[in-house]
Amino acid sequence: MKSEKSAPALALDAASLKRQVDAAIASARLKVEPEWRAGIDAHFQAIAKAAALVMEFQLDEELDPAPVFSA
């Protein structure tokens, strides 16, 4: 199993992330008050920054996900 870094795999600019949140709100039919939006966008930027660290990490394709472990 090898691991090596590759180029960042997702857009982190505020406009791109805001569009992603727009789409999620629309598809889930959420009612979002205008004054909530800045907080939501800030949180999504933090999530995307964390996700970028994960997405840039190269993993072999045969590595299955491990959502559950047996104790």
Binding site: A23, L30, G39, F69, S70
Partner: protein, 464 residues
């Protein structure tokens, strides 16, 4: 027992010997809760009548000559995301108060009561467990018994406060990213986050199913082990509950540290904290004679992956409530959950695949190490309402950074005994005693060594 200092094992022993009745213990407990709880805001529900009836039933059993369980007459309380028959399982929220009352106790409540423990109430927590502070906009913040204007830590804040204030010797909490370990550190008590799947979660309100654990808080390692042993066992109602045989920890906790190989973890865990958290770790390492340092590979990335999985699974769980009652959430929780609803599937799957990679690498370390020591939190309990702190010379937000040292551990389900450490006259700190999967007994043995040498100590607070 009126000062709340008696341990669970002392109470059970005194009741079994007839030195005191269970009813007297419960009456004293309820009286102390009535006086102290308004100061610390640990309890959201007090099940006084149920507790008195349980105590009287225990006393009657003893009078008939029946053998009582290992926790006979021990008062305990549970984080209010754990089902208590007759109460709506509010999980720290306003919304869940509209649910019908639970019709049955959670599995762990049933197991503790089967051992004779007596439930006295449900405990305050951060809304839907998405919290490291112990603050709650609906019920008010739980307050740190060692400094009432300081956080308890969360999300099991009421559990930490209730044990540290001597309201109960035993409490249950949940830990998804650190919610048992953080309040243990901030409130100065012992906590056990068992291996993922080791204790049943059936009958508890979930947060992030692939990261959720339940476990005990206590003021002694013996009490932690006593409770842990009483709660072990398979449970078909929790799909991830272990099918392993029971492995009692209590008989092994006095075996000492002599044949356990221990290391401090460096790298990610040696940065991002203030000098006091590292002083607490150094105090523990010195006492155990530990000089070796190891690194958990990509621990910072593990924290990031846990962050993504948490946001995504939490959002998925609450999406319907967000659609119908978004205005009734704590705004800080609501905004994070809505943000989590925008996470693409590819990010979540990659985080879960990375989890597998990270777990395999970390488990390799346990080939020649038994125990890993790490700070629990990057600092002492911040003030209630505090939104930023300085770590490594950088001002960062409090909420997401309190769990910086706990998240990379629960991410792969390792068992941890969280031990309280006092380095001066100030508030306590904590150290994580981390073991390989299913080796809770190893972590508890080291915690016991630290307790016996008074390096780790759960001091009872009588808040004024």
């Amino acid at each position: 027992m009126r000062d709340g200092s008696a341990s669970a094992s002392e109470i059970a022993s005194n009741i079994a010997s007839g030195e005191i009745t269970a009813r007297a213990v419960i009456d004293a407990t309820l009286a102390r809760i009535a006086v102290i709880n308004p100061k610390v805001n640990a309890f959201t529900d007090i099940t006084a009548e149920r507790a008195r009836q349980s105590a009287e039933a225990l006393d009657a059993r003893r009078a008939r000559g029946e053998t009582l369980g290992a926790l006979a007459g021990v008062p305990f309380a549970v984080k209010n995301l754990i089902d208590v028959a007759g109460l709506p399982t509010r999980a720290g929220s306003k919304i869940n108060r509209d649910l019908p009352p639970a019709t049955r106790d959670a599995m762990l409540v049933r197991r503790l009561e089967a051992a004779g423990a007596v439930l006295v109430g449900a405990l305050n927590m951060g809304e839907y467990a998405y919290d490291f502070t112990g603050e709650n906009v609906h019920d008010g913040p739980s307050r740190n018994p060692h400094g009432l204007d300081h956080m308890t830590g969360g999300s099991s804040g009421g559990s930490g406060a209730a044990v540290a204030a001597g309201l109960v010797p035993l409490a249950l909490g949940s830990d998804t990213n650190g919610s048992i370990r953080v309040p243990s550190a901030f409130c100065g008590c012992f906590g056990l986050k068992p291996t993922y799947g080791r204790l049943s979660r059936a009958g508890s309100f979930p947060f992030v199913s692939s990261l959720d654990h339940l476990g005990p808080f206590a003021r002694s390692v013996g009490d932690l082990a006593l409770a842990y042993d009483a709660m072990q066992g398979a449970d078909p109602d929790d799909p991830v509950a272990t099918k392993r045989r029971l492995e009692p920890a209590l008989p092994n906790i006095d075996r000492g540290a002599s044949n356990l190989r221990i290391a401090i973890v460096g790298g990610h865990f040696a940065k991002h904290g203030d000098p006091y958290c590292f002083a607490a770790l150094a105090k523990v390492a010195r006492a155990l004679g530990v000089t070796r340092t190891i690194e958990l590979p990509e621990a910072g990335r593990a924290r990031a992956a846990a962050y993504v999985i948490t946001a995504a699974e939490g959002a998925a769980l609450h999406l319907d409530r967000l659609r119908k009652r978004a205005g009734d959430f704590d705004p800080a929780v609501r905004d994070r959950l809505i943000a989590g609803s925008a996470i693409p599937a590819a990010w979540i799957i990659k985080a879960q695949r990375f989890r597998r990679w990270y777990r395999e690498r970390v488990l390799q370390l346990f080939n020649d190490i038994d125990i890993i020591l790490a700070p629990t939190t990057p600092c002492r309990a911040p003030k209630i309402g505090q939104t930023t702190f300085v770590l490594d010379g950088v001002t960062v937000p409090v909420r997401p950074n309190i769990g910086i040292f706990t998240q990379p551990i629960s991410f792969i389900g390792l068992p941890v005994a969280a031990v309280p450490v006092w380095i001066d006259g100030g508030l306590p700190l904590g150290v994580q005693v981390i073991a390989a999967p299913c080796m809770e007994a190893h972590a508890l043995r080291i915690a016991r060594v630290l307790e016996q040498s008074r390096i780790a100590e759960a001091r009872i607070a009588s808040p004024d």
